[in-house]
């Protein structure tokens, strides 16, 4: 008694620290018991698995968890800041995979599509100029305002006509020799070559002009929609520089695309894959920003509408992908760096990572370099990167503040809407990147997005919808429980009162994550890390 009192007096800082730890434990009793329960469950499940297998089971769990995390993290960031449940998020993941596959397999097609897109988007950088004309239309009588729609439709028609006359080199889903399915095989065999350029429709100058004109007409039409609070702004040099930049980029790409294609097709598949990851993430980010600006921004006050519109966008993307890439699902050849075999393979230990082998051995378990190595590594990198972004940068600070009170952030003079767009772009970019990373492992199909989004939402429910670390924890748990159940399905569990070992059937895999979610939500209604409703 006296002793402890003396110690208390001498070491008051450590005493207060002890008390703080006790406080934290007390407040998190429910959370702690859930974590303890999970550890117990995991240990019990692992007990039935031979030691040499359990490490690979954990790593496979991490791998699935990392992919789920890439979807869940963006979804969480968007929901956390804007309260928008982006139901198209899974489809952006899926589209990311398809775009990544295209850059990886058919770079020539990607460039051919990119050039007209750059030209069409150029006029949109001159929005302040078009608004002056747009303002005149919105000042007209009611019937005359239908001119807005006339402009948009005729502009879009111009763009479509110009694109069909633009020489696109593309696969043909109806002819096996040039289907995506066959091309993936060709990449694997190393026999894929650039497709021969089609004969010209129109001279490129005509196509460029028509595309630019079409984009301009659409932009003028769009600018006629009245947006509250947009002041007439002068056309700055920055606007002009953007237009010039886009046009010059399109022109340069057009002129050098032959040699660019040859160069890219000469690269190893590893470099092409990394390029696919980066470019596809950028395409996903751009698409996300576009969706936010065009569709979500006018509807922030109407949550149900944003829900419906994202659902609709998802369906549109699915059908578009089916139309362009064909209905059958196909695989994506694994890049060379993760696909080696023969002498020296499987490599030993963590060094095996860079050996070019398809598999490596660690702690007596044979792991795939791509799935259990590279994907897990990327998941960790994204977790660390986004955490640093949130904690250490000004935009991260703005996001954390905006999650709580966007109005106050705006009252401080910060353009919150711009931050919304940036976060939407970031989240969509992460999803698209996840899609490319998933493709070599699970292949491509138009339905892959919905499956992953559902899993990601379950993961977020477990981790807490309001918490970014929660997204990581939930994804990790989902990955682990799925893989443990799959493994137990092979080895079986010895249960009392049963003569045969119990083998969970594959249908139990998704069920297990749902059961886990139900149990956790019963104890912690806002998830492991979520904060309760304020």
């Amino acid at each position: 008694m006296t002793d402890s009192k003396q110690i208390d007096q001498i070491e008051s800082p450590s005493r207060s620290r002890n008390r703080r730890i006790a406080d934290v434990l007390k407040r998190n009793r429910a959370r702690a018991s859930v974590v303890a329960f999970l550890v117990f469950l995991f240990a019990a499940g692992m007990a039935g698995i031979e030691p040499s297998k359990w490490f690979s089971t954990v790593m496979q769990g991490l791998s699935v968890g990392a992919l789920v995390f890439l979807v869940a993290s963006g979804f969480q960031l968007i929901f956390g800041l804007m309260d928008v449940l982006n139901l198209a998020h899974g489809e952006i993941f899926m589209l990311g995979a398809y775009v990544g596959w295209t850059i990886y397999t058919r770079f020539d097609t990607f460039i051919d599509v990119l050039i007209p897109l750059l030209v069409v988007s150029a006029p949109f950088a001159l929005m302040p100029l078009w608004r002056r004309y747009g303002a005149r239309i919105s000042g007209l009588a009611r019937w005359a305002r239908t001119a807005t729609w006339g402009l948009i439709v005729s502009g879009a028609a111009l763009v479509v006509i110009a694109i069909t006359k633009f020489p696109l080199v593309i696969w043909d889903p109806d002819n096996y020799a040039s289907t995506p399915v066959n091309m993936s095989v060709q990449v694997d065999l190393g026999t894929l070559a650039p497709l021969p350029a089609e004969s010209f429709g129109w001279p490129w100058v005509v196509s460029f002009l028509l595309l630019f004109l079409g984009g301009t007409v659409v932009a003028v039409g769009l600018s006629a929609f009245r947006r509250q609070g947009i002041q007439p702004a002068p056309v700055t040099t920055r606007n002009l520089a953007t237009v010039a930049g886009l046009l010059v980029a399109a022109l340069v790409l057009y002129l050098v695309k032959g040699s660019l294609n040859d160069w890219v097709f000469g690269l190893s598949t590893t470099w092409r894959f990394f390029m696919a990851v980066v470019v596809s993430a950028m395409v996903g980010a751009a698409l996300g920003a576009l969706i936010e600006i065009a569709l979500i921004r006018p509807l922030y006050d109407r949550p149900i509408y944003t829900l419906m519109i994202t659902l609709g966008v998802g369906f549109v993307i699915i059908e578009m992908v089916r139309e362009v890439w064909g209905r059958p699902s196909f695989s994506m050849a694994r890049p060379a760096a993760f696909n080696g075999s023969g002498e020296g393979c499987p490599a030993e230990g963590i060094g095996g990572f860079f050996s070019g082998c398809a598999t490596f051995v660690m702690f007596g378990s044979r792991l795939r370099v791509y799935n259990e190595g590279f994907i897990v590594l990327m998941g960790i990198l994204v977790l660390v990167g986004v955490t640093l972004l949130l904690k250490k940068t000004r935009i991260g600070m703005t996001i954390r503040a905006g999650v709580q009170d966007p109005e106050m952030v705006e009252a401080l003079g910060i353009n919150v809407r711009r931050v919304f767009t940036q976060v939407f772009a970031l989240g969509s970019g992460l999803a698209a990147m996840g899609g490319v990373l998933a493709a070599p492992s699970i292949g491509l199909s138009a339905e892959m997005g919905a499956t992953f989004l559902l899993t990601a939402i379950v993961a977020l429910a477990i981790g807490g919808l309001t918490s970014f670390p929660g997204a990581a924890a939930g994804a990790l748990l989902i990955g682990l429980i799925q893989q443990v159940i799959i493994r137990l399905g092979q080895t079986g569990i010895d249960l009392p009162f049963l003569s045969e070992p119990f083998k969970p059937s594959p249908t139990l895999v998704p069920a297990a994550s749902i059961i886990l979610m139900v149990v956790i939500l019963l104890i912690l209604p806002s998830g492991l890390f979520g904060r309760g409703e304020r």
């Binding site: 509250q228 609070g229 000004r394 600070m397 709580q404 705006e410 009252a411 401080l412 003079g413 353009n415």
Partner: protein, 232 residues
Amino acid sequence: MSLLQLNDVHTFIEQFHILEGVSLDVPEGSIVALLGRNGAGKTTTLKTILGLTPARSGSVVFEDTDIKDMRSFDIAAMGIGYVPEHRAIFADLSVEENLRIAERKRGDLDRKEELIFGLFPDLRRLIHLPGTSLSGGQQQMLAVARALVPDNRLLQIDEPSEGLAPVLIEQMMEAIARLSDTTTVLLVEQNFIVASRLGQSYVIIEEGRSVQSGNMSDLVDDQETIQRYLGV
């Protein structure tokens, strides 16, 4: 010379007509107290000036610019600081970050450090704590300090004395009086004693209309008006 002028401002929140004609004038360098009963539209007036609840008609002129149709962040960036009624301290940010986020130029906080910690010495000690671990009084100080970080021409302070202990109210009043040497203040205050000691002039709002304004010294002696509009 007037820094801010509202002329017959009408504001709707959804279909509700909240402000039905508010006119007021904030001369540069003064403290103007916005008085009125609960629900009269004082907070909405502040939010309308900032464009958070945009005015539907009338004019809001700040430094010779009509800011009625501008976006909130553009209005705020013109030099209007806002201390909302419930402080709106960001829970996930530390005290320092709560100040840092208000910077409009890099280094704003370092330049204002002396001023802020001179007014609120307590904050220096709390600088690394999370925003929510502060007491109500400390949060109020932080909210005012946050509005001081950028170079604001006008400070809108909503109910600074609400929920504070008397000794803290004294400190807060002293701080507001001192910072009014450099900034103009538009103050909403329920506590008439606080308002009358700080304000140089007043505007009374009743059911969404500005009904009376003048010098604070005249109002203090006008028991009839006080009874009628403030019901003390």
